[in-house]
Amino acid sequence: MNQLMDWLTQPWPWYVAGPLIGLTVPALLILGNKSFGISSSLRHACAICVPAKIPFFQYNWRKETWNLVFVLGVLIGGFIATNFISNPNDLIIAADTRAELQLLGINEFSGLMPAEIFSWDNLFTVKGLLFFVIGGFLVGFGTRYAGGCTSGHAIMGISSLQWPSLVATIFFMLGGFLMTQVFLGPLMNWVGF
């Protein structure tokens, strides 16, 4: 039992986590004939709360309730993992990344997320504008425009050998590389890091 707890509290390696995530694809198909995808939950939220007679949000969202239940589960899963089987040690990140982030002004590396960025204190600051408002907007707008996110395209789409999903995934990565390697440094300087 102690050994099991030891193992559960350690960070899980990619070759454990990746296949478990991949198994979500057949699990959803077999459990209820459902295609894996998470960004559609954001669309359902719009369809339920502010459809505003926009054709894009006029559909039977009640049939897609399962998707909202699934993401509620993801939130609860995050709570359980963090509160009951969390890693007692600091996150180990690559030395190069750590050094580059330190140059950008990040000094706190103890949690899963940098406390210097993801805190309520930053809400009404330029930091908050960049990391929460602009970042979140790009995620929501981009995934919907692309017709899916990493789960819908990179995992479900490529798993079912659909080339448009491969194209989408390549552009997800290109956008990420460009932001990280070119824009993020100047942007972080600008918001006060």
Binding site: A17, G18, L20, G22, T24, V25, L29, I30, L31, G32, N33, K34, S39, R43, C46, F57, T65, W66, V69, F70, V71, L72, G73, V74, I76, G77, G78, T82, I85, L91, I93, D96, L112, M113, W120, N122, L123, F132, V133, I134, G135, V139, G140, F141, G142, Y145, A146, G147, T150, H153, S159, A168, T169, F171, F172, G175, G176, L178, M179, Q181
Partner: protein, 161 residues
Amino acid sequence: MQVLEKNTKDAVCDAPNSQDSGERGLALLKYLILGILFGIVFVKAEIISWFRIQEMFRLDSFHMYGVIGSAIVTGIISIQLIKRFQIKSTSGEKIIIPKKEFRKGQVIGGFIFGLGWAITGACPGPLFAQIGSGFTVVLVTLLSAIAGTWVYGKFSDMLPN
């Protein structure tokens, strides 16, 4: 071929519910449990971590590539097995995987999402797990992502597609 491939035009969205029979109440519990397991993996593999996403885009670690790559390989094998053995869903229906058609949005929208992914350190799934992990300010990011989705829906007719 037991697995049908439907055209997306008659599907409602990118991750459609292809099940014909309705599900309510307790029948939805299985998706909650699956989501919980999924969220636990997200945290335990640290892929909800902003630091890990930075590592990935700085090419300093194999971790995220290993996670995504092995998830895809597992998915491909699973779908091939479902097709080969004509496995049906638990309600006895043929398993349907809607076909995705190429649109310009996968290039432009995909690129825009990538920019946001590197800033927030999260794709939509991890956003929910981050909130559950106690980074409650990510609720603001989530609301902004919902706003972004709404703005896309509002102006989708005017965008190249």
